[in-house]
């Protein structure tokens, strides 16, 4: 007699397969998030065994007496706005170029993607040296070109430090957008493009009415990932300026870390983290819903 096989419904099978990952996710993502939310209304220096409930005090103090919080908040928004526009645009242009039948297309793709696989802290170190005001590449090149009037203290002048750091970030991340757009471009139907051409559409019209709509899922993914990555920008700041000069390049993620791990104010650090979480949700969720609704009606 053959043993009876235990039959599971499709839903049950799905749940069984999901359960291990869900458990791990709850243990290592959901629980810490809830813990941080709880910590944000507590006073804790990371050393004593007990937390003290202080209500919204950490949020109020961050917003009212912390002279760096709003600088970090503003910088995070500026950084995010730039990150949503610049790397995706350059990545898109590169993807369009590298989607053509160019000689050396493969090595070029690898070359542009290379910075993505370099450790962010190494990227920061490379660029910090290039920005060295005395011996760095940029000032040396400007001096050699007779443009010594343009040399800067790239990471020391608060008017330019944030943007100098952003250029390094663009170099680091543009390959990521490029690869996603390339994948999207390869999914665009050649038949549709050829049909558009036969119907008399020019290059721009084909791009505007065939390629671009077909790329909408890729664009959504790139923009959402760009927003999320830019909001949590940490390593590039840590490696290049540590938030200086005079906290002028400070960001929320870095400031949360500084408050908790360097100043020992875990409650304040958690409050800043929660603000960052709310900002992220406030930006990402409406955008995602809008894109999904648009895709559904398209």
């Amino acid at each position: 007699m053959r043993p009876r096989r235990m039959r599971l419904s499709v839903t049950a099978q799905g749940l069984v397969l999901l359960a291990p990952a869900l458990l791990v996710y709850c243990g290592f993502a959901v629980y810490p998030m809830l813990d941080v939310a709880l910590m944000s209304v507590m006073k804790w220096n990371g050393l004593t065994p007990t937390w003290r409930f202080v209500g919204p005090q950490n949020y109020v103090q961050a917003a009212t007496i912390d002279p760096v919080f709003w600088v970090a908040f503003g910088n995070t928004l500026i950084w995010t706005a730039m990150s949503v526009v610049v790397p995706p645009l350059i990545g898109f242009a590169l993807a369009l170029g590298l989607n053509q039948n160019l000689p050396g297309r493969g090595p070029l793709r690898a070359l542009f993607y290379l910075p993505v696989i370099i450790a962010p802290i190494a990227v920061a170190t490379i660029w910090r040296w290039m920005y060295d005001p005395f011996f760095g590449l940029f000032n040396a090149a400007l001096t050699a070109a007779g443009l010594s009037g343009l040399i800067q203290d790239w990471l020391g002048d608060r008017a330019v430090a944030l943007y100098a750091m952003f250029i390094a970030y663009v170099w680091e991340t543009v390959g990521f957008s490029m690869v996603l757009f390339l994948a999207g471009l390869q999914g665009v139907s050649r038949t549709l493009i050829e049909a558009a051409r036969i119907d008399g559409a020019g290059r721009f019209a084909t791009f505007r009415y065939v390629t671009l709509p077909a790329l909408r899922p890729s664009i959504t993914i790139v923009l959402i990932l760009s927003i999320i990555n830019s909001l949590k920008a940490f390593d590039i700041v840590y490696g290049m300026t540590q938030g200086g000069p005079a906290q002028s390049t400070q960001m929320l993620a870095m400031w949360a870390f500084t408050q908790a791990m360097q100043l020992g104010d875990f409650g304040r650090g958690a409050a800043v983290s929660m603000v960052l979480l709310v900002v992220t949700i406030a930006i990402v969720i409406p955008y995602l819903r809008w894109m999904l609704r648009r895709d559904a009606t398209a």
Partner: protein, 415 residues
């Protein structure tokens, strides 16, 4: 089956024995958490000290874990909340960085060991003074003691026509003017590491306010906003950053600043006694000399580093024995120069004939009291604001006359 049972029992017995062996060894094992050493000679010295201690104390193992500064602080925070704390941990002395661990109960009082090993007779009094700063007993034992002074490029001083080392603040300013007239920046600092430029501000505060008021300001016992010398100090500080610094400086760190100093791009640097080793390593010892910043208070600018016994240590007696060995005269004499120019042990004999080593010995002998770096005097949050205000003034973003009030605003709201 009988064979199986016998085999299983034998295996079990062997397993128990194997499991018990490390447990026995662990009973005599102490752990020490410290920072990564800056040079290989310190690594080798520490290894050799531990080997000798272990040889002299059979059955005792000293396990060292080295970390970077931030990782070390994080590890101690984690340790404070668990039962995995080390037996001994490194931290700076003073109310700021070291005091945090004492306040939280991670450090154990060491009065008993001070009496048992007579450390008050063994260590330099100035280095020991920090152990008495905390309520509830004596905490920590000196590991290193550092002084900071002004190093200068002898050739650049000569080029500017400066014939003697400044003995007063007015003479230092006059020297800076002579250097400026010769188109030589007086000082080089690295602005990205906040604590580097801070050194000049600390020295100016000591100069302008005097010892008692400076201490009252850093202990936050008087208001920065109403103390005229605090504002005057920021004004003096701004004078230096705007007129006498090698620029740009906010975008470079301390090591880049040192390279510029070596390249002769600026005449002076405020650095600790450890710079002697760095100049020696660069083969440039003969080109430089040093003098204490002329604050006029007869207090040496410097700080101590301590080793603390953890309140969670299961072997505090062995830990104390190791610390006594580490600070003992023969060990300190044998490893003189490996951890700093000056030993914390008062009986160590200095035999170096290097002028800069001799200069440091004179300074340590001459100065009876010290004032610590701002980042070791303030609580951490105030230190961060102190850095920010200093950098704002240095980068012309905050008027010097408003700086003291800006700092006080934060201190008042943080209290």
């Amino acid at each position: 089956m009988q064979y199986f049972r016998s085999g299983a029992l034998a295996g079990l017995a062997l397993g128990v024995a194997v499991a018990a062996a490390p447990a026995g060894a662990r009973a005599q094992e102490i752990t020490l958490w410290t920072l990564n050493f800056a040079n290989d000679s310190a690594n080798q010295a520490f290894r050799s000290i531990i080997d000798q201690f272990q040889a002299a104390n059979p059955g005792v193992t000293v396990k060292v874990e080295n970390r970077g500064v931030d990782e070390h602080k994080s590890a101690l925070r984690v340790a404070a909340g668990s039962d995995q704390a080390p037996d001994i941990f490194f931290s700076w002395a003073g109310l700021g960085l070291g005091g945090e661990y004492i306040k939280s109960g991670l450090a154990a009082p060491m009065d008993k060991y001070y009496a048992e090993y007579k450390w008050d007779d063994e260590f330099l009094p100035a280095a020991l003074s920090f152990s008495r700063q905390y309520p509830g007993g004596r905490f920590g034992v000196p590991y290193t003691f550092h002084g900071e002074a002004v190093y200068y490029n002898k050739a650049l001083f000569a080029k500017a026509g400066i014939t003697s080392e400044p003995k007063t603040y007015a003479e230092l300013l006059a020297a800076a003017d002579r250097l400026a007239a010769a188109h030589i920046p007086a000082f080089t600092f690295g602005g990205t590491v906040n604590w580097h430029v801070m050194r000049l501000m600390d020295e100016i505060l000591e100069t302008e306010c005097g010892a008692a008021t400076h201490d009252a300001l850093t202990n936050m016992k008087v208001s920065w906003a109403t103390e005229p010398c605090a504002t005057k100090s920021f004004e003096e500080f701004h004078k230096w950053t705007s007129k006498y610094f090698l620029k740009p400086f906010m975008g470079i760190d301390q090591s880049q600043s040192f390279n510029l100093f070596l390249a002769g791009r600026a005449a002076m640097m405020v650095e600790g006694d450890w710079l002697v080793g760095q100049l020696k390593g660069a083969g440039r010892l003969a080109d430089y000399a040093l003098f204490p910043f002329p604050t006029g208070t007869q207090r040496l600018y410097g700080f101590a580093e301590y080793d603390y016994i953890s309140s969670k240590s299961k072997h505090p007696d062995i830990a104390a024995k190791f610390l006594d060995y580490l600070g003992s005269t023969p060990v300190q004499q044998a490893h003189l120069g490996d951890f700093g120019s000056i030993s914390v042990n008062r009986f160590v004999k200095y035999t170096s004939s290097e002028p800069m080593d001799l200069a440091w010995q004179r300074i340590f002998a001459e100065y009876r009291s010290t004032f610590v770096n701002g980042d070791q005097a303030f609580p951490l949050a105030v230190t961060t604001e102190y850095f920010r205000v200093i950098n704002q003034v240095a980068s012309d973003r905050l008027a010097p006359k408003d700086a003291a009030a800006e700092l006080q605003k934060f201190i008042s709201s943080a209290k």
